[in-house]
């Protein structure tokens, strides 16, 4: 487990948290069949926040962020994203998904399309951006994640780290206001984790609202403004990273931290 995400100085000038609410979750519950996977989740995310959600596997942290863009359906409580309430109304769901980008553990790039096509597809078909403009936007973000030279290759020809950076660029091409990361580095070799974390750090420096499910505690310490610890489908503890790591309150958190940081 790497203890730092990036070697360079982090520019915190733009990483300001505003009062505007980006995501509001009230008493949200979810079941898989009879299994109660999320229990009474209450959470407010302000614009510009960088939140790391940690916890043992099976604690419901991935399910929580997948509920935010309705990849999973919640059964009780409300989720309000950007002022729009998530219901079964497909129009609202599509509206929210346009504003919320997501990166997956296994990248989920479209293998039958080139890197450039992966990045231009959603802007062209969802936002109706003209092809030329969409390609310019795509190249801009591919340069940002430092792989413009791979634009004409297929995902299968890239390394895992490169694929994850493309996935981030693909999400950014939709100009989202919120980014969700579902264990973005868990499927990567240690050498590639850093390149992806660097990209995420840069994104945070630009003031993106981010929710990251990750085991990268170095990233949490350096970038997050809040760490949420979940266990058994509940939020057990949340605090600023400094306090969270140095002075955890709950026994469960202490145990988790001792295991994850102990080696």
């Amino acid at each position: 487990m790497s203890q730092i995400a990036t070697d360079r100085e982090i520019d915190r000038s733009k990483m300001a948290v505003s009062d505007e609410v980006a995501i509001q979750i009230n008493k949200m519950n979810k079941w898989y069949g009879a299994f109660h996977v999320l229990r009474d989740i209450d959470m407010t995310v302000q614009r510009g926040e960088r939140i790391v959600i940690a916890g043992p596997s099976g604690s419901g942290k991935s399910t929580l962020i997948r509920c935010i863009n309705r990849l999973e359906e919640h059964q009780k409580g409300d989720i309000i994203v950007d002022g729009i309430e998530l219901t079964s109304d497909l129009k609202n769901i599509d509206k929210i998904r346009r504003e919320v980008g997501m990166c997956f553990q296994h990248f989920n790039l479209f293998p039958h399309l080139t890197i450039l096509e992966n990045c231009t597809l959603a802007p062209m078909w969802v936002r109706k951006t003209p092809k030329k403009e969409a390609e310019e936007i795509a190249m801009h973000f591919l340069e940002k994640v430092k792989i413009p030279e791979q634009a004409d290759k297929y995902p299968g020809q890239l390394s895992g780290g490169q694929q994850q950076r493309v996935a981030i660029a693909r999400s950014l091409c939709m100009k989202p206001r919120i980014m969700l990361f579902d264990e973005p580095t868990s499927a990567l070799d240690p050498e590639m984790i850093k390149e992806v974390l660097d990209t995420m750090v840069e994104l945070a420096e630009e003031g993106m609202t981010m929710l990251c499910v990750t085991h990268e505690m170095g990233f949490a310490k350096q970038v997050a403004n809040r760490v949420i610890f979940m266990d058994a489908g509940q939020i057990v503890e949340q605090n600023e990273p400094e306090e969270f790591f140095n002075n955890p309150k709950s026994e469960r958190t202490k145990l988790f931290l001792s295991q994850i940081l102990g080696h």
């Binding site: 863009n69 990849l71 998904r97 997956f104 296994h106 479209f110 293998p111 039958h112 597809l121």
Partner: protein
């Protein structure tokens, strides 16, 4: 690095080894034969047995094919000519093919109109080209879309207004959808787009076409369906069935995976029913039973009925092949498409279906090949496809009793078509490979 001390465990490499070419001993035909034919005692025995088997078969078949008679005018004459050669198993009478090949190709289509069938075939190749090879000019696709109507007119003849009013139905569907989609919402638009052409075709198309024809005929000599036959008929049924069963199969596969209970139930019911019934049964329904269900007096062309049945039959299998492809996709693909905000139809068209179809290419082409070969079953309901024609040819007293030559020739032509499809699918698989 030769001076590394054997007694120390610590080791640091100072020079990286350069890449080297593989040794040159592992190549050449002898090496290949040793690897592939004589790698062990068992393989050597099997190789020798196979060679012996091939030898026996070929020494029997090749002389029969090669020394066959091309000149005799009847089976009797041919047998006498061949007997003079002194071959143990006789030889073929190819003259029947020389005499009847036009019939085997065109059936009883009037010979002064063969050019129309030939033109339709050549235009079919033109229409297929941009579909099969996407690198070609995309503008020809317009012609591909219009080709079915052109071909119908060329083959069946009659007034040009019949295909024109048929196309008009699609134009009306498009207009109805475009106009209502903006004003009344997509569901109304879809319903109108289905209703408008159906009403047009059933009620208005006939009178309008007749009216236009009486003003300006624009007609070529009509040919009735009973005169269609031979490979022309096989190709008409086969190609139409192939072209229609793929989209229908895709829709059925999507329907079977749908969350809408009624749509799903209809699709599952259709697929399971069609797959549970032999094609012959469906063809008999097409040839006889269907008339009972239609209003008396309606004439519903037998070739059209057969095409519908063959299409429905193939589309049920196609649906299962495509469903296999959809099921093979990782759920991540569906989730990524959703997360980007693509709606169901866009996600299907742009993300999941292209990948599912690519996975299913071998299965799809197998279904195509099966469909094309199954067209020979129409001989059972009295259509004169090549197999049906063999009975006809044997009814001629000159050729009474001839079997192998006709079936051999028909088999060869079918093999050429099916083998081309198989090679094309392999080409497509190679072309669409995007991994390492």
């Amino acid at each position: 690095m030769s001076d590394t001390h054997a007694q120390t465990v610590a080791y640091v490499r100072e020079t990286m080894l350069p890449e080297q070419a593989p040794p040159s001993t592992a190549a050449g035909p002898i090496k290949w034969m040793r690897d592939n034919l004589f790698s062990s005692v068992l393989n050597t025995v099997l190789t020798l047995l196979s060679v012996y088997f091939l030898w026996v078969v070929l020494t029997l078949v090749l002389p029969w094919v090669w020394y066959g008679s091309w000149t005799a005018s009847s089976l009797k004459e041919c047998r006498e000519a061949v007997a003079g050669l002194g071959l143990a198993h006789g030889a073929a009478c190819w003259s029947v093919i020389g005499e009847r090949y036009l019939q085997l190709i065109y059936g009883f289509y009037p010979d002064e109109l063969y050019w129309r069938a030939n033109l339709a075939f050549i235009l079919m190749l033109v229409a297929l080209a941009p579909v099969l090879y996407p690198n070609l000019a995309r503008k020809i696709l317009w012609f591909s879309a219009l080709y079915p109507f052109v071909a119908f007119w060329l083959l069946w003849g009659g007034t040009l207004w019949t295909p024109v009013v048929a196309v008009a139905g699609f134009v009306f569907a498009y207009l109805a959808f475009e106009i209502l989609n903006r004003t009344a919402g997509s569901l109304v638009a879809v319903i109108a787009a289905i209703l408008a052409p159906v009403v047009w075709w059933l009620l208005l198309a006939g009178p309008v076409s007749n009216g236009l024809a009486s003003v300006m005929p624009l007609a070529i000599e009509p040919v009735e369906s009973a005169k269609f036959g031979g490979f022309m008929l096989s190709i008409i049924i086969g190609v139409t069935g192939i072209a229609m069963s793929l989209p229908l199969g895709i829709l059925l596969a999507l329907g079977r995976q749908s969350d809408l209970m009624i749509v799903k139930a209809i699709c599952v019911g259709f697929i399971e029913f069609i797959r549970g019934v032999p094609l012959i049964t469906l063809l008999f329904v097409a040839s006889t039973l269907l008339n009972y269900f239609l209003p008396p007096g309606t004439t519903f062309d037998i070739i059209l009925r057969v095409i519908i049945m063959v299409t429905l039959f193939a589309s049920a299998y196609m649906a299962e092949v495509v469903r296999g492809g959809l099921a093979a996709l990782p759920t991540g693909q569906y989730e990524a498409a959703d997360a980007l905000g693509l709606d169901y139809w866009k996600a299907t068209r742009l993300i999941t279906m292209p990948q599912a179809l690519k996975i299913s290419i071998p299965g799809i082409v197998s279904t195509f090949i099966g469909l094309f070969k199954d067209t020979t079953l129409v001989s059972i309901i009295g259509l004169l496809d090549p197999i049906g024609l063999t009975t006809n040819i044997r009814a001629d007293s000159n050729w009474n009793g001839i079997v192998w030559e006709l079936y051999g020739f028909i088999a060869l032509i079918f093999f050429i078509f099916c083998f081309s499809m198989s090679r094309y699918s392999m080409y497509l698989e190679r072309k669409l490979k995007t991994g390492h």
